[in-house]
């Protein structure tokens, strides 16, 4: 089934392996030094976590929002999912139905 989602990748000339695909998983959070201004995850959350499994506090996680902009390799086109943003204009006109009158691209945030 997955093959069907890769149609669009044919158009690209052999993209290099993304950092996301090749990066290794952090085994020990203490090994990681974050640049100045970046908060480390709260250590106390992981006091009883098994090795290699981590809990992360929200403030730590939110720091990734602006830097992780790469589109996931296996994200199917949103139209295929029926996942298109509601068209606000048509919404207010009580057209009923699924608001398909006009489509706006893929609707990234």
């Amino acid at each position: 089934l997955d093959l069907n989602f890769r149609k669009d990748s044919k158009d690209l000339p052999n993209p290099p392996m993304s950092a996301l695909a090749t990066a290794r998983v952090i085994a020990n959070l203490n090994d990681v030094e974050y640049p100045e201004g970046i908060k480390s995850p709260k250590v106390e959350l992981n006091a009883n976590a098994p090795a290699g499994k981590f809990r992360y506090d929200r403030d730590f996680l939110l720091q990734f929002m602006k830097v992780c902009t790469e589109k996931p390799e296996h994200l199917p086109p949103l139209e295929v999912l029926g996942l298109e943003p509601a068209d606000q204009q048509f919404h207010t006109m009580s057209r009923g139905g699924s608001g398909r009158g006009s489509r706006h691209g893929s609707g990234a945030l």
């Binding site: 970046i38 506090d57 990234a108 945030l109």
Partner: protein, 259 residues
């Protein structure tokens, strides 16, 4: 010089120090799968549905199950991810709840758990949920859903796990998944749990306390309300817990916990 090269190869580069060439990523406690449905997903064959991705769990053909199977056929699998970096890549390329069509749902569940009562991980559980009028919350819902997802994937929903109360070495989280639903007049956010208090047995009081602590955490830290704040109003509910078994009963038999 060789040592230098070795040192460079071993250097840990996070996405913060090198957004395009990082060499480590932050694993999540569990892998998660995002599912989606809306009126527009009905009858579409692609992509995977819970039925096609878990064909190994055939259910007996009772009328209820047939209905459940039909419903699950309309839910589409968006993606499975297991790192912080992948979560944000997804988040930055997908539609926020305030821009979803009506009658749509995102289901973010631990990998291998179907977003349905019928799943073994859910059948003895229940859900914390809150309903919010749409017009007053259009500007809040995206942040509330984001914070709900972050508490889920960060595994911080269940305070029992991190408070030091747990006596077992690696206690399992009660959370199986989180859902956001858009309806013509309101939004609903839900946190599904593996277990629900039954009012019976030695461990039930402890479980109830743990479930209530989750609800308070949801109301205050995640949604940003004060603990005593009254939320009920036209189209709005308090933060309420209901077991799936009681949800099936609908009417008066249902015993809600309200935070």
């Amino acid at each position: 010089q060789e040592i230098d090269m070795q040192a460079q190869a071993d250097e840990i580069r996070t996405v913060f120090s090198d957004p395009t060439n990082f060499n480590v990523k932050h694993p999540l406690y569990s892998p998660w799968t995002l599912w989606f449905d809306s009126p527009a997903t009905k009858g579409r064959n692609l992509p995977q549905t819970p039925i096609s991705s878990f064909p190994q769990t055939p259910l007996p053909q009772t009328p209820g199950n047939v209905a459940a199977l039909g419903w699950m056929e309309d839910i589409k699998r968006v993606i499975t991810f297991d790192s912080v970096e992948e979560f944000w890549g997804l988040y930055n390329h997908i539609v926020a709840p305030s821009h979803l069509p009506q009658k749509a749902n995102y289901y973010l569940f631990k990998e291998g758990i179907i977003p349905a009562w019928e799943d073994d991980a859910n059948k003895n559980g229940g859900k914390w949920s809150i309903q919010l009028p749409k017009d007053k919350n259009r500007s809040n819902i995206d942040k509330m859903w984001l914070f709900t997802m972050l508490a889920a994937i960060g595994e911080t929903f269940d305070p029992y796990l991190t408070s030091g109360e747990a006596t077992e070495p690696h206690p399992q989280s009660l959370v199986t998944g989180v859902i956001v639903s858009t309806r013509p007049q309101f939004y609903r956010l839900s946190i599904w749990t593996r277990l629900a208090p039954t009012g019976q047995g030695d461990e039930d009081d402890k479980l109830r306390e743990r479930i209530e602590a989750m609800g308070r955490n949801f109301k205050t830290s995640v949604l940003g309300y004060s603990e005593s704040q009254k939320l009920q109003g036209p189209l709005a509910t308090e933060v309420e817990f209901l077991s799936h078994k009681d949800s099936e009963k609908k009417g008066k038999a249902a015993k809600k916990i309200v935070i």
